[in-house]
């Protein structure tokens, strides 16, 4: 797009925010990012909360992060100004900007969708390399995808109850075991004379 002397380019921006701050209110975070982009002469086309996940490594002492995906247009110096502003802002931990030709209609699938597809796919045709690598990927990919802090908390509270319920079963099984064991031995002994 060309407006007069300035050429507007389309960009994709991924912003990493601390999950604790994102939980306070998505409107606040979105307002901060929108403000940053508009401050740098950018115009937001579309944005969404892409994902909330455990980070692969700790960034500024933060373990859980929320990703916001933005599509915006801007001038040539928008990105350099944005990078400078983001370094000064305390809300945005990391940001990645890519020049794209046009805003895509469908965003690349999220981890939740991938896990569903994996379950549905089953065993298709795979090369040897793929088969081994998918096994590795499944092992490595479980932790970030399935890890939700909100889901862990109730599980921790339920554990004692579950253990308490499981313990009597084990005890009864242990108590029954010696009672059951002698008959088997007797049966064996009793079988011998018969033979």
């Amino acid at each position: 797009m060309k407006y007069g002397s300035t050429v507007l380019k389309t960009y994709e921006g991924m912003f990493l925010i601390d999950s604790k701050e994102a939980k306070k209110g998505s409107e606040v975070v979105e307002g901060v990012i929108n403000g940053l982009i508009e401050k740098c002469k950018g115009q937001v086309v579309r944005f969404e909360k892409w994902d909330e996940r455990r980070l692969a490594y700790e960034v500024d002492g933060v373990i859980n992060g929320t990703y916001y995906l933005y599509y915006f247009t801007g001038e040539a110096d928008t990105i350099s100004t944005l990078n400078r502003e983001i370094q000064l802002s305390s809300n945005v931990l990391r940001a990645l900007f890519l020049r794209i030709k046009e805003v895509p209609e469908v965003v690349v699938r999220k981890p939740e969708d991938e896990s569903e597809e994996k379950e549905g796919e089953g065993s298709g045709e795979k090369t040897e390399g793929e088969a081994s690598s998918t096994a590795d990927a499944a092992d490595a990919g479980d932790t970030p995808v399935g890890d939700t802090p909100a889901g862990d908390a109730p599980a921790a509270t339920e554990e004692p109850a579950a253990e308490a319920a499981a313990a009597p079963v084990e005890e009864t099984a242990a108590a029954e075991a010696p009672a059951e064991a002698p008959p088997t031995e007797e049966n064996v002994d009793s079988d011998k004379p018969e033979v």
Binding site: M14, L16, W50, R53, L55, A56, Y57, V59, G65, Y67, L69, L93, R94, L96, L98, V107, V108, R109, P111, E114, K118, E125, T127, G129, E130, S133, T134, D136, A137, D139, A140, G141, P144
Partner: protein, 77 residues
């Protein structure tokens, strides 16, 4: 009589996974696909191991580096 020349059939299986399917695009956001092309330590598989063509191997390399920067993939496993 000379024996007929046997031409090797071009197999789909031998092609790069990204060339094979039109839907699959190399993207730093597609972590599941990128993890299939990495070791458990997070190191990129060789072309011989992954089966990628040179063009897509370069794209995967760049996508992994972007994913590492934004915290989607580890630098060190």
């Amino acid at each position: 009589m000379a024996a007929k020349k046997r031409y090797r059939k071009f197999s789909e299986k031998g092609r790069c996974r990204f060339c094979r399917s039109g839907d699959l695009i190399v993207d730093y956001k597609d972590v599941a696909t990128l993890q299939k092309l990495c070791t458990t330590q997070g190191k990129l598989f060789s072309r011989k191991r992954s089966g990628n063509c040179a063009k897509h191997q370069r794209k995967v390399k760049l996508a992994i580096k972007r994913a590492r920067f934004i915290g989607l993939m580890p630098f060190v496993g």
